[in-house]
Amino acid sequence: MTTSATMPQAASFGGRLKRFMADRPLIPLVILLVILVMILQILRPGIVNERWIANTAKFAIPLAILAGCQTMTMLTGGIDLSVGTVATMSAFIMATQIVNQDPAVAFVLAMLPAVLIGLVNGVGVGVFRVHPLIMTLGTSLIGTGFLQVYQRTVIASGARIPDFLNWLGTGLTYGFPNALFLFVPVAVLIVFTLNRTGFGRLLYAVGDNERAARLSGVRYWQVITALYVISSLLAGITGLLYIGLIKAPSLSLAEPLVLPSVAAAVIGGTSIFGGRGGYMGTIIGALILTVLTTLLTILHMPEGGRRILFGFIVLFVTAAYLRIIEDR
């Protein structure tokens, strides 16, 4: 009976390091990000400059906000695939309504479909218990259809990007992208909501064990409806920011961000099964994905090879990260 258990104190340096990082899951993510940036700098010396950082931030921000929608919905075991359509809708409506309308009216009109889709998603998932994947996919199809019909009514009026959105999307203040004026409050709000408010706590609880939440007096549909409306609102705001950045309203504007937004949340350590995760990780996940896209853009290789590499890197990053944070 000489075999004794390995005590925590006796753990090797590697073990201690792992424990240290496991308790602070953001650190390994940040390290991953730094490594990617370093690779980029080695491949293209000089690329990592002030301007590049600002550009990366500009593109990471819309992705990070949409990934925030995914983080919150994923905490409840859901997912919101309609964010792309919602963002596109508000962007498109804003750009076309601003031509003839007061900016405030245009803004309200732009956010209206976001609220509606969020409400329908919430009721479908929360009351009718439709699987979120299907529900949000369905509403996104419906939204796209409406947008196409709408588009035909405004072809003649043209489109314009409001100066304010322009400023927000592409402008810089002391070298910092103006989008940060929107993002920092949003991020702080999301982090605070998740960690320090009753609503945030309910998201985790509902995702972890819905019956337990119910027995504690939580009405599932209330939480879920509020959640999907919030998610849609965030997506709508992202759409406005994004149109300021891209400056070309199209019917598929934000669609390409949907899968990356899910990936960013997952890389950031949020469990798609619910109950586990946080927004800080998601932000870094969005940065990692944005840097990775740049990295692959500047690589001289056939498109096929690039995609293969992208797939493997996403898988590797997620796997490595999970390895580090699990078995705490």
Partner: protein, 319 residues
């Protein structure tokens, strides 16, 4: 009202060019007065999905089918069945391999060749070019690649600094150009596969040195050619109104006026703003009232008869 029912099949939805094409079809059908009803299958799908749509149109017993093929060869069997069922088949925008089909097409290879050649000349026959392609694996993209490579071969001193696929997505293209600009790699020209105005935007925003840019005749880009300071560029026409031409061709055949050839090619034009004469042309072409994604060449002389109001209204017969 007219007497024919025309079926339409298209496999890309939500893209300005394709939307214009559909509107041109509707407007032309209305303007011709010969069409009773349009039966439009318009969605995002692949060649197999288009086969499904074509067969559904056959089931619906249309008189003619105007199709923008997802792939030249992939829908051969469906078109063959349509012809067998006595339906007139017209392919627009791209060619198809089915011999019984009539084709009225934009010349994609020529589109790329024309623009690239102009660009390389602007660059003085040497230097580095940023090659921003469309969607990897799309047949229009590979046709354009052929034209681009052909021009490249004529200018041995022009090198491709970077080749990227924009996927014909504005946001992707913008992120790519910004990343590229951040590397500080010097370039002397940019060729785009029609995702053009975001590129000019990026150059302006980043205060990067202006280089010649080739794009398509999208309203946004044509406007930029007129207004953006120091921008030298060329818009190569790639009219979405080819759809209207397809309807005209189909009606001609239904009326018994078969064209001499199976294939009609609409040759692209190049509008540049490097010369005074070119500037004037670009100025007249510009149309700020159109959505920036729509090509400004909203009609094709001899082929379309609708008015601008009609295509913008985007209403077919019976709507």
């Amino acid at each position: 009202a007219g007497k024919y029912t025309i079926g339409i099949s298209n496999t890309v939805q939500g893209n300005g060019w394709r939307e214009e094409m559909i509107c041109a079809m509707k407007a032309q059908a209305l303007a011709s007065g010969e069409v009773a009803k349009l039966n439009i299958a318009h969605r995002n799908t692949d060649a197999a999905g288009q086969l499904e749509d074509i067969r559904n149109l056959i089931s619906a017993k249309v008189d003619a089918i105007v199709v923008n093929p997802a792939d030249p060869a992939g829908i051969k069997s469906g078109l063959e069945e349509a012809t067998k069922a006595g339906i007139v088949v017209v392919a627009v925008d791209q060619a198809v391999t089915e011999p019984s089909a009539y084709i009225i097409s934009n010349n994609q290879e020529q589109y790329a060749y024309l623009g690239a050649k102009w660009l390389f000349q602007q660059m003085g026959g040497k230097g580095e070019v940023l090659y921003m392609r469309g969607a990897a694996g799309a047949s229009a993209d590979s046709d354009r690649d052929k034209g681009f490579k052909q021009a490249l071969a004529e200018f041995p001193d022009v090198k491709v600094a970077q080749e990227v696929f924009t996927g014909w997505q504005q946001d992707q293209a913008k992120q790519q150009i910004l990343s590229f600009l951040a590397t500080g790699t010097p370039i002397n020209g940019i060729w785009t596969s029609g995702i053009d105005n975001v590129i000019v935007d990026a150059l302006v925003e980043q205060q990067a040195p202006m280089v010649p840019v080739v794009g398509a005749d999208n309203a946004g880009f044509v406007g930029q050619l007129n207004t953006v300071k120091d921008l030298v560029g060329a818009a190569v026409t790639n009219p979405g109104s080819i759809g209207g031409a397809g309807v005209t061709l189909a009606l001609q055949i239904l009326d018994g006026k078969k064209p001499a050839q199976q294939t009609v090619l609409v040759e692209p034009q190049l509008w540049e703003n490097a010369t005074d004469e070119g500037k004037a042309k670009v100025k007249t072409a510009a149309d700020p009232s159109l959505s920036p994604e729509w090509p400004v060449s909203i009609s094709i002389p001899d082929w379309t008869t609708y008015t601008k109001d009609q295509i913008v209204a985007c209403k077919g017969p019976g709507e």
